[in-house]
């Protein structure tokens, strides 16, 4: 069990700085998910915590101990990699036990820990198999097992599910979350998939270009994103953002001289439901509809801007038809057009 603190952490490769002095406190037992597009620095940050990358500036402390120059093996952390990194020349049992290779525990204790980890992860029947005889999900579980047996102070996960298919990913998400609930160990988890971030995290850290944009619980980020990037990155489908003019409580799409950037989540932009005094009302031509069963996503174009709105499941509009979509008061996010920072709601 441990807290992890990043204090003015920077990373530079030669003259190119890729992490620009980030600060973050991860309390003991928290499940933190770093999320952001490729190249935002999330994996580099995790690798610095693991000790696989040198720290260029600032400090990392794990459990109150400054670890900048400490070897990975002495940081009391375990890491699960994107490519599983389970050794193909060893059986599942040997792979899991490998986490204890340098441990001074008695043999029986090591064996019982391996059995216990296998039991927890549903790998008991597969212990003698080689990795080549396992499915992707099973391999990932072996990698988690190898991390688990060490009983580390913190787990680091580097995009562990990105090589799995959608169904397995959903299943493993639940398993990892359940594991965290059971073990209560601090977890730092990196992903570029905002669904993983939303569903698993106690707290999401949104990163971009080596900066932390926002670090908050998932629903807080969903409800109150600090800027346009975060607003569009979290939530599926992405938030509709468009130049607008605001007058009173009403926001109108305005290509010329916009005073504000307005953002409406597709879930808040409803088709064919004329509301009472909507904050936004848009009219446009349907381009594509995506029926999802319980609702239909309606893609339409208004004044050259693309929008996504939601409609009831059985929505019959065809491409080319005109639709009207409205968002209720209080659901429209407003951003400064220059700084792109959130300035309020309408």
């Amino acid at each position: 069990m441990a807290t992890i603190q990043l204090n003015k952490l920077t990373k530079a490769y030669g003259k190119a700085e890729v992490i620009h002095g980030i600060d973050l406190d991860i309390p003991d037992g928290e499940f933190v998910v770093f999320v952001g597009p490729s190249g935002c620095g999330k994996s580099t940050t995790l690798r610095m915590i693991a000790g696989l990358e040198e720290v260029s500036g600032g400090d990392i402390t794990i459990g109150g101990r400054r670890v900048n120059e400490v070897d990975p093996k002495q940081r009391d952390i375990a890491m699960v990699f994107q490519n599983y990194a389970i050794y193909p020349h060893m059986s599942v049992r040997q792979n899991i036990a490998f986490g204890l290779y340098t441990s001074k525990l008695p043999k029986e204790e090591k064996a019982s820990r391996v059995e216990a980890a296998a039991e927890t992860l549903g790998l008991t029947a597969l212990l003698e198999r080689r990795p080549s005889a396992l499915s992707g999900g099973q391999r990932q579980r072996v990698a988690i097992g190898r991390a688990m047996v060490r009983n580390p102070a913190a787990f680091l996960f580097d995009e562990p599910l990105s090589n799995l298919d959608a169904q397995l990913r959903a299943q493993m998400r639940i398993e990892i979350k359940a594991l965290h609930q059971r073990l209560g160990t601090t977890i730092a988890y990196v992903t570029h998939d905002q669904v993983e971030a939303m569903t698993m995290a106690d707290r999401i850290v949104v990163m971009r270009d080596g900066h932390i944009l926002q670090a908050a619980p998932p629903m807080e980020i969903y409800d109150n994103p600090v800027d346009i990037f975060t607003a569009r990155f979290i939530g599926t489908p992405s938030m509709n953002v468009f130049p607008a003019q605001q007058s009173g409580g009403v926001v109108t799409l305005a290509e010329a001289a916009p005073t504000v950037m307005a953002g409406v989540r597709p879930q808040d932009l409803k088709v064919a439901e004329p509301g009472i005094a909507p904050a936004v009302a848009l009219e446009g031509l349907v381009t594509v509809t995506e029926p999802l069963g319980h609702e239909t996503l309606v893609h339409f174009t208004a004044q050259g801007h693309d929008f996504i709105a939601t409609a009831p499941g059985h929505f019959g509009a065809l491409p080319g038809q005109t639709v009207r979509a409205e968002a209720a008061a209080g659901t429209v996010h407003l951003f400064d057009p220059k700084t792109e920072k959130a300035v309020g709601r309408a």
């Binding site: 952390i77 050794y87 290779y101 441990s103 190898r146």
Partner: protein, 286 residues
């Protein structure tokens, strides 16, 4: 019924279509194969002939005899030479597998100043022909008192640029994740190399072992120069002692050569799969 009886079957296995290009290919391969195997067949054939029959070029001797084999094995120092060759080839092979992999791994997986320079310096030694190196080797061996010793035969080949290059290329294909995972698991760098990286490059290691063994088993030039005592001769050098100034005992040379071929044949038959893969991996000609 009658009509049914006379119906010829229309479904049968179609004759495989043989393309002219394939015939040409087979012909070329057949000729190439014959060119390579004929001297070996003649070697075996001559080893079964008496001294008087060796200029009789029939492939199957009129009166085959194993007398030459008995003579080679019972007289002289054949066994000693065989053991010498085995010792040299095995030691050099083990040394190459160890040092070439260690250096290859370091060059592939560690970032340090001068890494590229070291790699290019190692590679550049491949461009110097053995004949040019023999004089410095000899002078060095003479200075250190290594002439006419086992170590004197072995030292130039204990590590090779080719082996280092081959292993480096292979270690580069080992994902860094494996190494980093082991680092986090607490292994030191040597153990990571030995326990994690080495098992993952077994095909390249086998290829290196095979080529090094065969190369050293058949090595002639340097052992001939560095060894003067007959009890330290390797097989290829020892066999030349059958060619004395007045007469060359072809049947004895061929018998010795045939016996010397046996280990290479065994190595080839056992490890054929690896040799073929190794040739493909290393981009070598056989």
């Amino acid at each position: 019924m009658a009509a049914a009886d006379t119906t010829t079957p229309t479904t049968g296995l179609p004759m495989p279509r043989i393309r002219p290009a394939r015939i040409l290919l087979w012909t070329v391969l057949f000729i190439g194969g014959m060119l390579m195997i004929t001297p070996i067949l003649f070697m075996f054939s001559t080893s079964l002939k008496t001294a008087g029959q060796i200029y009789d070029l029939r492939l199957i001797p009129a009166e085959p005899t194993f007398a030459n084999y008995i003579k080679v094995l019972s007289e002289g120092e054949f066994f000693r030479w065989f053991l010498n060759s085995s010792l040299v080839a095995i030691c050099v092979t083990l040394s190459n597998c160890f040092f070439d992999s260690l250096v290859g791994y370091t060059l592939a997986k560690f970032r340090f100043r001068g890494r590229q320079f070291v790699f290019i310096a190692i590679l550049s030694t491949l461009m110097i022909p053995t004949e040019m190196l023999v004089i410095p080797w000899y002078l060095m061996a003479a200075d250190f008192g290594w002439l006419d010793t086992y170590w004197g035969i072995m030292f130039p080949g204990m590590m090779t640029a080719f082996g280092t290059f081959l292993m480096k290329q292979f270690f580069e294909t080992v994902p860094d994740d494996f190494i980093e995972a082991a680092r986090i698991d607490g292994l030191n760098e040597f153990t990571i190399w030995w326990r994690i990286a080495m098992p993952l490059v077994t095909p390249a290691l086998s290829a290196l072992a095979i080529f090094t063994f065969l190369g050293n088993w058949t090595a002639f030039f340097w052992p001939l120069i560095s060894i003067t005592s007959s009890e330290l001769y390797t097989l290829p050098v020892g066999l030349t002692s059958f060619a004395v100034e007045q007469s060359i005992q072809w049947e004895m040379i061929m018998t010795g050569a045939a016996l010397a071929t046996i280990p290479t044949l065994i190595v080839f038959l056992l490890l054929q799969r690896y040799i073929v893969r190794g040739v493909m991996l290393a981009g070598l000609k056989g």
